[in-house]
Structure formats: structure tokens, C-alpha cells
Amino acid sequence: MRIQLDFAAVLSQWPLLLNGIAWTIALTTVATLIGMLLGILCAQMRAKGPVAVRFGVGAYIELIRNTPFIVQLFFIFFGLPVAGVRLSPETAAFIAIVLNLGAYAAEIVRAGVEATPRGQIEAAVSLALTPFQVFTRVVLPPALKKVWPATVSQIVIVMLGSSVCGQISVPELSYAANLIQSNNFRAFESFIVAALLYLALSVVLRKFLNWAGPRLLFGR
């Protein structure tokens, strides 16, 4: 049987695809900005916080890292309304994706922080820097530099993982591809187009983060 590909049928739905790309980028951007902050905070709390906080943060990190993203998403969207918390699909997706990246980023950042030599911290303290200054100026930049490749990989994974947000009707890229193929039955073409778009997004995102990290976060 010869398969006849009809990309025009899919590409003619470009407003849907464009909207999908915009949502995927929005989810990834919010996840990266807030998720990284959450991750850094959690990394520090898990290492230096009071016992109770340390335990709480540890529980959060392990809970997120040891359950599938789609289950976390369904829990927030379908589960929380039972407790009276009703979120729109988009809000649920943003919360789920931030919590997800936050937990992974915490462990990645912690690895970098732990690799900072003690002497460097002692030197900073002896220069009368406050603990906050020590962390943000002496500990964090080299730590981020060491773990940046791992962080970039994790952000790309989160972007690809955002594809499941379509399951709760967030109109991101795979939702758009799914909707197109269920309207015109061009499943193969839809997913080829979606795959190529994801590939392009990943390459661009990786290049951008590799460029932005040294310039904006920790210097070359």
C-alpha cells in the first residue's frame, strides 16, 4: 500500500499550530524562570534550612521526581477540585510544570553547590560578606556554571514533557497536532509536522540557553 502524504491539509491549519507553539513556549518560559528560582531556593533549604524545612523540601523533591508528570498534572487538575481548589486547565498546567522543573532543578543545583570548595566560602566569610552575598555571589555562580549543561537538558525535557498538558485541554503544540489529525484524519502528517516543530524548538532553546547562561547568570 502506498501512503500518500498530504502536508497541505495539516499546514493549512497553521493558526492552530502557531497558537500551539506559543503555548509550548509560554509553558517552557514560565517553568524555566519560576522553576529555576524554586529549584535554587529548595537546593539551599535542603542543605541549610531548619530540620523541619529540610524534611518538607526533601519530601516535595522526592514526590515529584518519583511520580510521572502526567499523574502530577491530573492530580492538580482532577484531584484538587475535590478539596475545593478549582483551577483552569492553563493555571493547572503552569503550576504542575513549575513544580516539576523546580524539583529536578533543586537536585541539579544542589550538586553544583556541594561541589564548591569550602575554602572559597571561608574566604568570602572572612571578607565580611553576608550569608546572602556569599550564596549569590560566591557559591551560586560557579555552581550554576558546573551544572548548566545538565540544567539545559532538564529544561528541554520539561519543554517536551509539556506535550501532555494537551490532555487537560491546554492548547499547546501536541494538542494542536491531535486536534488537526482528528479533524482531517491526517495523523501521520500531523505528527511529522509536530515532531519537526518540537525538534526546531529544542535546538533553538538549547542554543539560546547555552548562549544566555554564561552571559546572564555566571559569566564566562
Binding site: 487538575f77 482532577f78 477540585p81 475535590v82 478549582r86 486547565p89 494537551g166 490532555q167 487537560i168 485541554s169 494538542y175 491531535n178 486536534l179 482528528s182 479533524n183
Partner: protein, 265 residues
């Protein structure tokens, strides 16, 4: 060469004729078999409430099962239920595992090419459902509300056609997700088939969800193997009698909560 080709065609025609003869010989035997063995084998669903499901007593029950009993009793024979899924209900007929398929079977061109259909015996419809407290009388009333629907299902296409433009249609991956979102209150209304909605209403009485607006009718027919004209005539006769006597309406009211309405012949 020419001759052998002609011979071949003749042989083919002969074989086809024999097959036709065989089929028509079989046509007599299906009803005859039922009468002779005093048993009719009817394929029914066990996974599709309220049409067919397994009750707490582990026995199949539902509209399709009641219909099967009705057909068997009118024919005066013993009923043997053959549980099938939606995927294998037509093969069950083709391989003579069942004499009839009463399994909320809708009619379409692809199916009509392989089996025959009786008159319709029960309504099947896609509709919009919502809690009784939500006032929805017409499509215009949906304006500004959220409606959950299973992406790509027949009701998705119908809803997209009739709904006002400012309705938020929330599309989910499968019936379970659509229903879960509605039950959790994430969508104000839900567009789905009567079967799925009925099951949801049964399991979630606290929602007080009810039928609001009709999207599309696609009634259920009894499937009969191709060429079984005698059996088909008998089945149609039973359906017509049951329709006139109000038995079909009673069945529909019992399981679907509304009268059978105007069923196509």
C-alpha cells in the same frame, strides 16, 4: 490462451453461482436452525451501560439484554447470550457465533456492506448534559460557558457546528477524561453519548446532571448476517409489533429515561 481464459471465467462464474446457491441454502437454515434447536444465540455488550453491562449479581443486564429476551420470547425459543465487545460484534455475526447482534449497533455504509440491518429498536443519541441548576434551553444559552467533549468524537464535530462562537469547548483525550473534568466541576456542561452520560449520572447522583440539548440521533439496529432474509423478516416483524404495542417505549423509558421516539424503519 483465449480459450483457457474463457474457461477460467466460466469456472469462476460457476463457482460464484455455487457460492450464491450455498448462501441461499444457508439462508433457510439460520431460522430453521433456531426453530430446530429451540435456541437463539444473540450477541450482546457487557461493557456499555445502560445498553449492556454486568450487574452486581454478575449477570448481564441492560436495554440490549432486555431486547434480546423480548426477541427470544416472541420467537418462542431459548435465549443464549454471547457477550461481545464493540470491535468483535460484527465478526461474531459473520462467523455464526451469533444469529443476531443486539449490541447498540449504529448503521453506516461500511457496516451495511458486510451485514444487514433490521428496523431500529432503541434510540441512541449524543447530547449536552449539565446540572439541573444550570439554565440551558437553547444553543444560544451556551454562550460564555465551558463545555467538555471528547476530541474527535462525533459529538465534537456536531457541537462545533451548532455552538455559538463564544462557547469555550474543552477537548479531552477520551471519554473518561471528559467525564472526570465534568464531574470535578472543571467544565460546566458536557457533550457526550447517552450511554456515557447515563453511566456518569448513575455514579454521581450528587451532580444532579440532566439531559439538556440534543446533538445527534444515531439509533440502534439489530444486525443480521447477509442473506438471512427469513430471519430478518421475523426480526422486523417482532420489532414492529413491539413498537406498536409500546414495548419499545417501555424499554427505552426503563433504561434511558425517555421514550423511544420516532425510530427509523
Amino acid at each position: 490462451m483465449m480459450l483457457s481464459k474463457r474457461k477460467f471465467i466460466l469456472a469462476l462464474a460457476g463457482a460464484a453461482g455455487m457460492m450464491l446457491a450455498g448462501a441461499s441454502a444457508h439462508a433457510q437454515s439460520a431460522l430453521d436452525d433456531i426453530v430446530k434447536t429451540k435456541t437463539i444465540k444473540i450477541a450482546i455488550p457487557t461493557d456499555y451501560p445502560p445498553y449492556g453491562f454486568v450487574g452486581l449479581d454478575m449477570k448481564p443486564q441492560g436495554l440490549d439484554i432486555d431486547m434480546a429476551s423480548l426477541v427470544a420470547s416472541k420467537m418462542g425459543v431459548k435465549l443464549e447470550l454471547v457477550p461481545v465487545t464493540s470491535a468483535n460484534r460484527i465478526p461474531a455475526l459473520q462467523t455464526h457465533k451469533a444469529d443476531l447482534v443486539i449490541s447498540s449497533l449504529g448503521k453506516n455504509a461500511e457496516r451495511e456492506a458486510v451485514i444487514d440491518f433490521s428496523h431500529a429498536y432503541a434510540p441512541f443519541f449524543q447530547a449536552v448534559f449539565a446540572p439541573a441548576s444550570l439554565p440551558v434551553k437553547s444553543w444560544a444559552d451556551l454562550s460564555g460557558k465551558t463545555v467538555g467533549v471528547t476530541r474527535g468524537a462525533m459529538e465534537d464535530q456536531e457541537l462545533t457546528k451548532v455552538a455559538p462562537t463564544d462557547v469555550q469547548i474543552r477537548r479531552f483525550e477520551d471519554h473518561n477524561a471528559t467525564i472526570a473534568a465534568f464531574v470535578a466541576g472543571q467544565t460546566q456542561l458536557v457533550a457526550t453519548s447517552s450511554a456515557v452520560a447515563d453511566n456518569m449520572i448513575r455514579k454521581n447522583p450528587q451532580l444532579a446532571a440532566e439531559f439538556k440539548l440534543l446533538l445527534k440521533e444515531s439509533p440502534c439496529f439489530i444486525g443480521v448476517a447477509k442473506g438471512e432474509s427469513a430471519l430478518m423478516a421475523k426480526v422486523n416483524e417482532i420489532i414492529l409489533a413491539a413498537k406498536n404495542s409500546g414495548e419499545l417505549d417501555a424499554l427505552s423509558k426503563k433504561w434511558l429515561g425517555r421514550a423511544a421516539g420516532d425510530l427509523p424503519l
